[in-house]
Symmetry: D2
Subunit: 340 residues, 4 copies
């Protein structure tokens, strides 16, 4: 941590800042410049990081420069080895790229079972489906609730595919834990800290979606909440960020894939369906994600997208999905990976 | 609602779309253009709005244009008269502009009581203070919890100022209801629908902050969740949105003030502290908000910002605040308002 | 300037970086931390600033922290006194707030003369109007060209109002200099460095509009180009930035007003018409800008906005404008200013 | 084009709007809804598109919905066959993906010749290099100018690689045409319409970079300017857009690749160097672009990035570049393409 003093800071101000900081048990190294002085802080700065805003208010201080990263458990430095999250025999984070697929919302037993069979046949390893849906409008379909969870569990029994489903708040966590293999934290809840702590305490696998206007650092800080509760089974999911470009629903931040792999040991997943919002862009964007180094994909598939109760515009049909899956192994092989 | 058919859509496709839509009990008026056909939908389109994405997937459809607004109870059309939210004798939404002020976080009894007295003396009508704090880092100060609520209540008893404090999840709602006069929904929770419904059912006054990534329409849809639960005591708070500009913490969307007043009957509040993130910008931005037509302001004030456990950089000292308050009545008068 | 070395940087790497930097004639002060070393640079770092990217590529370097601002002539430190730009007897940057008004495009002699008279009567001091128009589409009206300039000059003769008009490239600069009193650099040209240098060499007053996705620092750097050519008559114009919010054409960054006044000595202008894109938002946003501390305003006015060849949606009618102008003196007075 | 009338629009207003529009020689089809009327416009709406803003100002009009795309010559509908741009024997837009590589700035004869040989050996087909550099700061290195162009031409003579270089304004166009095989329009100049028209009249191949703040539609409109001047040799280049994410220099909009291929017949190029700003992200992002369907790549390579006068942080060394190139053929093959 480095404290930059203002050009005109007085000697008294500099000393006051220095002694304020040394009171926290760290040491100061001072650099006297021609115009400005700089105070370098040596020692364990962790307690000071949280006080950064206070330091910036001290008289004569121009700014504070943080050097170390604010996340620890999520960092590659802390754990240089790739984390592999295992879910009922499926491993995410290793050489194999795992595809999760299924409908946006659970709408009926038939729809889910049919989809589960189709995506399994095409090579998916995990079944996705929402029983509780966060919707912008209170008047939109809000999901089938527990009945939806039972349907997902039945589809799992039939196909053997583990199930991922969204948990919207900590109150519904117990019921979801009865049915789900992976807990999904949606983009709107990425900074719902109560929920992050709650899933952190379950030890259950978690897929954490990036908020649509969250930085990668903020996403890693949210993962840190879960990890700090003792749950190491966390996957990071890039699903597009909000920008000024209106053609796509969101803008997929493809660089996020190599950046997250560099900064963190956690598996990285991409959701091409929400990122683009258009089914015909899903296949090229999925191939791009594979080439960029993802560990997994989560894709929306529906028997009849035109009748889907949500996200119809971005859902693949069975044949779209199957065709896309056929194209993936050779792309994966080109970057030294396999489709799981 | 208008359905735009693709340039090459066949007669069969157009008829299929038309009959699909008429099955919902509405009528179709068809316009045959030189290149494209258009289907105008006449009647109650509400059930169709939620199906928009499905319609876009029908063969031959290019796009769907929504005409009516997706929010109803929050709209000015539904209620042309300004809503006035009354809180223990303080009215928000009328001719008087109400100032809420206090520390970001409750840190001690002395800090809160001292601040409450100072902001009351300067003209504030409501005391703000966070007992539970959403923090990006799990290692930052997370708030004093119930002890903090008790301190706020004590400050209310001493000064008579009603209290506004943030509720982060529905589980802490009962305890917060025991102490708070106004429930604050933070920016990160603007689309936490579980929480919106929960506060909707309390009938308690709610200040809903705009998400840093949310459009005004999405904000009004979130207000709609609360209103749809029967709670009409909702205030909308613009607190800055996330942009590419790094100098300020967020970018205050000043146009949001007249836009929200035009689209909705609900009171509009501005938070200049979070919007700017810099205490020296708070006064000019506050005066701008008053001129733009706000109904209220929520400002961070701290006895010693340099020692604040959160948001020190953007907090006003007592004298900063008092000086700013002195400047407001004449600005308010210039636009036909009074400082409450 | 501070160089942060990587946690694992070797002694050889640190020395290599230090000697690389000292070769530039500055001195190094080294701080050895527990995890990382820091090199503070003492002396004239100006030549190093331009090399920042190279320094970041040196082995063992984690990042470079710039301390001093990259603009100099535009900075408040360089010139603590407010610059006043005088244009044919009108002073911008002093106690009086100057209003520039007129149509987006020059369309006819009658339209411009009529508008010039109307805005003068309402209190405007400068006439705006575009003779050359940058349009997104090659098929849109591109302006009347020199004929338009002659019309503006005629309106000036009749009303006495100095004229501001946009210069799109350096080739049209000579002809525009024959007619215009103030050269306007449009948002799309904020980083057209050839043009910036060309207007810099004229010594003519310049209104520099912020690019719709430019930071305030980048804007000040563009002003620096003009100032560095010896032209000190530069005005900075905030005209809204591009964000994700679709309701308004752009998002007015109201905080830019006090920020620019703090960082620079140059006059600050706000364009509420382009910022909002909606005529009914122009008056409240203008009042907000006045309260925030602007030195001038540039507003679109048209005799019949519904027939305007460009920007009709955001143009005020004569009576809208006159009504708005009537409301400004008291707002200006509330912040210690006058309408010029 | 569809005109949506306000809910309360009177019969007179509707008729006035209808007759205003029919005066332009098109026909109106009116749909009377329960709440609102809609006017569908039948016939050639092209002249009306440019008047959209005026129409929105007519009394009683709520909004105008454009149906047809605003670009024509650039559209896939206009020309369903992929355009292939040929440059001295190199074809861009066909089955082969073309790699352009070289330094950001021309710094010396040795640097450019050495780099040209190295990138040719690794498989690049075109040499890039800037002789005139747009720089945010007037104090940064601004390029070698014509001397730089001569060096590029010499490198072309030695290696046979055609040369692409940036043209910043129309005045430098003649000199650049003497040396360059492809004219590059930089991101800051994407809406410099004077320059677009000037290069449009040359008939020379043009690489048009997306503005960092520009939508895909705006980019296609800028291409339309060049095409409308009779120059069909236009390539579109995605180079990252500006977002709130600070880790990368820009955010590469990977979806832009399939979207542009869908909307337009022009070749699509990706610039992974400017998009990421970090050399170690260039290879994964390049592979992603290949998988997403690009026709070409433009990559910064420097003999010693740490000594580069610009963009050192994002430049590849010869061995980085060579290693990346080795990985591309198999990725290209996976999507049915070849590296040219």
């Amino acid at each position: 941590m480095v404290v930059i003093m203002k050009a005109g800071a007085s000697e008294e101000q500099i000393e006051a800042v220095a002694s304020h900081i040394e009171d926290r048990g760290v040491k100061i190294r001072r650099i006297v410049g021609e115009y400005q002085s700089i105070l370098g802080i040596v020692g364990d700065v962790a307690p000071l990081v949280a006080e950064r805003e206070q330091l910036e208010r001290l008289d004569g201080v121009e700014s504070i420069v943080r050097i170390s990263k604010p996340f620890k458990l999520a960092s590659r430095e802390f754990n240089p080895v790739d984390t592999i999250v295992s879910v009922n025999g499926v491993s995410i984070g290793g050489k194999e790229i795992v595809v999760m697929a299924g409908p946006c919302s659970v709408e009926s037993r038939e729809q889910v079972v049919e989809t589960a069979k189709a995506v399994k046949a095409a090579g998916a390893k995990i079944l996705r489906g929402g029983a509780y849906k966060p919707r912008t409008s209170p008047y939109s379909f809000q999901g089938m609730g527990e009945e939806g969870l039972r349907i997902l569990a039945e589809a799992r029994e039939i196909t053997g595919l583990p199930v991922i489903t969204e948990v919207m708040d900590q109150q519904m966590l117990p019921i979801i834990l009865e049915y789900a293999d992976i807990l999904q934290i949606g983009a709107r809840n990425m900074q719902n800290y109560t929920l992050l702590r709650a899933v952190g305490e379950t030890g259950h696998p978690v897929l954490l979606k990036r908020g649509m206007m969250s930085t990668l650092e903020e996403m890693l800080m949210s993962a840190e909440y879960i990890l700090a509760c003792g749950n190491e089974r966390v996957m990071l999911c890039e699903r597009g960020i909000r920008t000024f470009e209106p053609y796509t629903r969101n803008t997929l931040d493809i660089s996020a894939v190599p950046v997250l792999k560099e900064l963190s040991h956690l598996p990285v997943i991409v959701d091409p369906s929400h990122a683009t919002g258009r089914w015909n862009l899903v296949a090229p964007v999925t191939r791009a994600a594979v080439s960029a180094g993802v560990d997994g994909l989560i894709v929306e598939v529906h028997p009849q997208p035109a009748k889907a109760l949500s996200d119809g515009a971005q859902s693949l049909t069975f044949s779209n999905f199957s065709e896309m899956m056929t194209s993936l192994p050779v792309v994966a092989a080109a970057v030294g990976r396999r489709i799981g």
